[in-house]
């Protein structure tokens, strides 16, 4: 097949998949009210997506903060502006690093767990069995997981940023000698509430996107062992690309 024909095929496939995912989202949203009637399920999913991701988020947050502190100090020192360490890192974390890194970690940990869990249910006929028992599998299985991810992500983002700033402080103030008062007051002087809300909004949008990709891939996985594996891989790849693309769009919109 000629290159042009292949390109056309691939593009059509991508567009078709986007359409399918949007339709799936519509179906999920349609089931949200019914699924809210079983809050126990949603709580369990917030636990799965959020509480179980805490360890990795907090650890990585600390390291990211510490690295930012080191790099930031080294960079700013060349211009004699070490006092801007707090400001620079807080803004970078809140607006970009926090939401994006959290989303990527989330896709890696919670996204794959979701995709493989639902994919396994597909492969062992559990989803079909539910449909045969006249229970809508989207309402019972997919919607609670979607809501769980959606609620957990912005919270995880905030935790990440907070711990990361603590990490910056650890390196910058404790270790490298930036004045504590300067660090915090400079930060407080430049960071606005709108920056915090920008981080929160990005967290919500990325959460929706990554969770949607994960549940979609799991739900539509081929009902075999390799089907589940492929679904998990695709989840991470598509989540990453989608997060970064949405990041650009959101940044342009919010600035």
């Amino acid at each position: 097949m000629s290159l042009a024909r292949e390109l056309l095929n691939s593009t059509t496939q991508v567009i078709a998949k986007m359409g399918a995912v949007m339709l799936f989202l519509g179906r999920i949203l349609g089931q949200v009210p019914a699924s809210l009637a079983r809050p126990g399920l949603i709580v369990a999913q917030i636990h799965n997506a959020g509480a179980l991701s805490l360890v990795i988020i907090m650890t990585c947050g600390l390291f990211v903060g510490m690295v930012l502190g080191l790099q930031g100090y080294d960079l700013l020192q060349r211009f004699g502006s070490e006092s801007a360490l707090g400001t620079g890192t807080a803004l970078a974390l809140l607006r970009e690093l926090g939401p994006v890194v959290t989303a990527l970690l989330f896709a890696g940990r919670a996204g794959t767990a979701l995709a493989s869990e639902i994919g396994l249910m597909r492969a062992t006929d559990q989803l079909v069995a539910m449909e045969m028992m006249a229970v809508d599998s989207v309402r019972r299985v997919v919607a609670p997981r979607f809501l769980g991810g959606l609620i957990a992500m912005p919270l995880l983002t905030m935790i990440f940023v907070a711990i990361a700033i603590f990490g910056v402080q650890l390196v910058g103030v404790q270790q490298l000698g930036v004045d504590r008062g300067t660090f915090w007051s400079q930060m407080q002087g430049s960071v606005k509430m709108s920056d915090v809300t920008e981080g929160w909004i990005k967290g919500c949008v990325f959460g929706a996107a990554c969770t949607l990709v994960a549940v979609y891939e799991g739900y539509t996985a081929a009902p075999t062992a390799e089907g589940v594996g492929q679904a998990t891989t695709r989840t991470v790849v598509i989540s990453a690309v989608l997060t970064l693309a949405l990041d650009y769009i959101l940044t342009a919109l919010l600035l």
């Binding site: 062992t124 559990q126 069995a129 045969m132 028992m133 006249a134 229970v135």
Partner: protein, 279 residues
């Protein structure tokens, strides 16, 4: 509990619970059915048999409304399944119980919760009553003592029995078994056979059985359909089918290695292929 479509209560119940009329279905370029017609009688155990790949599971999907035929009709209790709305389809499915090949128990729930699942989703019964129903169903399949186990802790045979208890939880009119004997040891197989027959007779329900275990079917089925090439090729009592005039049917029922269904996959001439390298 949910009630069946009201039309069947006001008329006399027809003899055929399921009618498949001249159904054609193909997928991915492959024709699976090209004119399939069969009827499932009320209150009987009907077996659907045939060589691998003839679409037995596809037939089940058509009956339960998971897929729609390209042509023809599938009627359940007199209603065309393909035309039902989602809500009506769900109402219909509440009157059916389905047993999957590997049990398909929900892995994050224990045995008790698995059997209770349909009750919790569709009814608002109080907890003591649910418990009563679940334990009774488990008792009838001999697994009341296993109520606290997780599906991962069950053997294949036990998992299937729990799945049977779950399929019965809502007291359906019809039970569908998809390859219930596949991969079971002889004892478990005997257990399932006994349960199958007992359930059908004790509760007056209709059972549809998809399998290709000829011996088991012969012991338990009242009537049987053999599918091949997208159509029904034989129909009747399993004992009679063994002595059928058709060579295909006899080959299948008696397990003969070579016959109308060839032993050899189509290949070029043996001599040509082997000796071609020698030259």
């Amino acid at each position: 509990m949910a009630s069946a479509p009201s039309s069947t209560r006001t008329e006399t119940l027809s003899q055929h619970v399921v009618e498949v009329r001249d159904v054609a279905y193909s997928i991915g370029g492959r024709t699976i059915f090209s004119g399939l017609t069969l009827n499932i009688e009320r209150g009987r155990v009907t077996a659907i048999m045939g060589p691998s790949g003839t679409g037995k599971t596809t037939l089940l999907k058509l009956i339960t409304g998971q897929i729609r035929p390209d042509r023809g009709q599938v009627l359940v209790e007199g209603r065309d399944v393909a035309r039902l709305s989602r809500r009506e389809l769900y109402a219909l499915r509440q009157r059916m119980g389905m047993l999957f090949q590997n049990g398909a128990l929900l892995t994050d729930l224990d045995v008790f919760e698995n059997v209770a699942f349909p009750l919790r989703e569709h009814t608002k019964l109080p907890e003591p009553l649910i418990s009563h129903i679940v334990l009774t169903k488990l008792q009838s399949v001999g697994l009341r003592g296993a109520w606290a186990l997780m599906p991962a802790e069950l053997s294949g045979g036990m998992a299937r029995r729990v799945a049977l208890a779950r399929a019965m939880a809502m007291d359906p009119d019809m039970l569908i078994y998809d390859e219930p004997f596949a991969g079971l040891d002889p004892i478990s197989m005997g257990v399932i056979l006994r349960l199958l027959r007992q359930m059908n007779d004790a509760l007056g329900i209709t059972s549809i059985l998809v399998s290709h275990d000829v011996e088991e079917i012969t012991t338990v089925a009242d009537t049987s359909y053999i599918l091949a090439d997208g159509k029904v090729v034989a129909h009747g009592n399993p004992q009679d089918l063994k002595k059928s005039d058709s060579e295909l049917v006899r080959q299948f029922m008696n397990g003969i290695a070579d016959g109308p269904v060839a032993f050899h996959y189509p290949a070029p001439d043996l001599r040509e292929q082997l000796l071609a390298d020698v030259d």
